[in-house]
Amino acid sequence: MKSSVITFPGSNCDRDIDVALKKFGFKNRMVWHADVELPKSDLVVLPGGFSYGDYLRCGSMAAKTKIMQSVINFAKGGGLVLGICNGFQILVETGLVPGVLLRNKYLEFICKNVFVKINNKHNIFFKSLEKDILEFHIAHNEGNYFCSKDQLKEIEDNDQVALYYCNQNGDTEEQYNPNGSIKNIAGIFNKEKNIFGLMPHPERMIDKSLSGEDGSLFFKNLINNLK
């Protein structure tokens, strides 16, 4: 399976995701933001970090790069796109997934482990994943997901919510919401579910010496589903 990770100026989880993808069997290529062509890929990943310093709005300037036009074309043609953290913010700014990501509720950057509940397994990202609740890791300043009421209804009607913040039992009360996201939303699909944006960093959970190993489950499952 071939994957491509786009490096924008200011991306800083590009190496981490490269390590993770390779660990679970992807043949990964790093793609520089100034490139125009996207290599042939089964998966394109927009990594975490602070593209363009997160200045103006997170992801806003990366969304205007040439390479993103290729990614948009790839996605619109049904290609698989994963946006993690800053990558999610970029997806939102391009309009590939709905909504926006505002500053966290207390205006504090949050770096910690959280639990997320998988809402929907009828998609290539989560199909056949044995667990329903995953321990993931977040590290962001702007992960407070927001959309209008109408949009929310549409998102829910189309089953586009991918992940909710919860506790280890899967309860999704407000108190398990780290950043103020509407309805505890941690990740969103596009309508067709080939584009997935999430705030947590599964690539930081791929080794028992690190914060946990549920990221391994995610990547293993993804590459199996792709085969």
């Binding site: 100026p9 981490d16 602070f50 363009y52 310093g53 504090e108 770096c111 930081r204 010496s209």
Partner: protein
Amino acid sequence: MIVSEQIAIDHGLKKDEFKKICQLLKRTPNITELGIFSAMWNEHCSYKSSKIHLKTLPTKGKRVIQGPGENAGVVDIDDGDAIVFKIESHNHPSFIEPYQGAATGVGGIMRDVFTMGARPIANLNSIHFGSPQHKKTKNLLRGVVHGIGGYGNCMGVPTIAGQTSFDSSYNDNILVNAMTLGLVKKNKIFYSKAAGLNKPIIYVGSKTGRDGIHGASMASANFDEKIEEKKPTVQVGDPFTEKLLLEACLELMTGDSIIAIQDMGAAGLTSSSVEMASKGNLGIEINLNNIPCRESNMTPYEIMLSESQERMLIILENGKEELAKKIFEKWNLDFAVIGKTTNSKKIELFFNNNQVASIPINTLVENSPVYDRKWKKTKMPRRNKFKKEVFKNLKIIDVLNKILANSNVCSKEWIWQQFDHTVMGDTIQKPGGDAGVVRIHGTNKAVATSVDSSAVYCWAHPFTGGKQIVCESWRNLISVGATPIALTNCLNFGSPENENNMGEFVECLQGIAEACEYLKYPIVSGNVSFYNQTKDIGIKPTPTIGGVGLIKNYSKMVTMEFKEVNSIVLVIGKTEGNIDQSIFARYILDEKNGPPPEINFFNEKNIGETLLKLIENDLIKSAHDVSLGGILTAISKMCIKGNKGINLKKPKLLIHELEYFFCEDQGRYIIEVHPNNLKTIKNILDKNAVHYDELGTINDNNELYFNDKIKVAIEELKNSNTYWLKDYMRK
């Protein structure tokens, strides 16, 4: 402009110093030259008050590749790998503009590290604020934390450890010390020594603006009411540009184009160019019209003294200009050839085809003033005799809850959760433990690091306090299973012109030096920050130690949380019950006088090395050094983190249980061991003459019991420990 003595004084120079400048030059300097002298001769750059004392520090060791004298120290961690590290202060700017002050402090120290060719792999910080009740404290704390996170997080370097304290002596002079560790191949280290004639000097990074002109002088000026006037000297950081600069520099460093490289830190272009020339015993010629400037009409004076951030000076091999330019343009950074090395041994500056400065380098460096300041010895304070009655009305659980919630003991999670501590995917011990630990990417090795200071002990008796902080640093590394290698230090003190403050400096340094010597724990880099005071009162002396240790096989790393029910818990090292200067005495008994706890070097070394041996042999399940708050505080934290209870029994000793559980006698660790290993462990401890007390057994009902009677839920202890700071900040 004619430079008068008054102008020199306004630049922070003393009358004598101005006279000496005129003598050295055999003429009166012009304003640009005066600016350069004032920057190079001020305390921050010249170390004029500290130099003679710093020379006494042990700086050599079998793993030391580079000691003090470069942008950062370098130590060998085997297999051709080396760690570059240093700590630096950014105190005064952080008080004036906490966000930008702290942010640029972090940016500055990272540049010091990647200047040497190392990719930063961990950040730390040591931050000290006034009393929580003081009206400025909350905003300063918030600003500093946001600033550290704002810069470090954006850079994608994990902040894995740090230290935070509150003390009213910092009310009007907070401390912000930032430390960075970088990883480099031993044979690819870059230095700042110029070499060769007619080599092109290039400028890269951001443009030069009017930021922080006189920032370096500000760091050495007394803090007084005139602070308002000094305001515009604050620099604004641009972490995004720094990230690009990091990647661009590392890219250029893969080749062999660079002869020397130096970041522009304090006193910007002035100190970077002078230092490079001085080390190479060369001259340097710069055309100031070639400097990329942000504002129009900048004068030579402004260009030379600007402290704009995210800039580097590089001396290239001839003919490499195009290659370098391509790389920096790819990263969208400014690039300019601004001059060349010469054999004049002078710094010569040109502007609009006129020479605007010509100063022999040695007058700026070797001939800068050196002072042997007067200093006063601190007497060892008398010990307090506490009557047993004072303990009578105290309930141990109440005392414990109070201590756990004390601003200096409580969990600092609110702070470190705002720092990305997991980016780069190698953090195997995050903040909140004894030391942060990151793996060396792709190997079985890891480095452990921590920052420590004990201003209260240093204030009570500087010499003892100096010894203590080095030992505490050493203990923190050992607690996670790391062999201490070397340290960096940031010496935050009051005015060197005050005999008491100077005495604190000298004696702390003596203590530090003795401890380093005994423990074979050399100092490889550091920084001095004087004039930390408001009006005439200096801060409590706050030397900060940043320690680095090596874990050869990270599967052996130890953490502090209790792991398993039925494990036996021991304290190793002897408990005598000296409570003077403990948090218990100062905070619960309200007794602020008395001597700090003594250090016994032999025990310190012996116990530490024995514990390392036990860890090496997989005999330790968890470990934590005993520090602020004594045994019971240490154990409570281990319970809280591990979500386990414990049945404690006080050993039959003559001292009172409050003294036993809350004293801060040095050189002790709490360890958790499997019952099956107890005998083996006791044998090893006995054989090595390490004293131990058996304290109890870990239980599964999440409660802490004393002698089977008194009990408290771990949940309650946890609340005491975690809520104070969050409540304080969010209210």
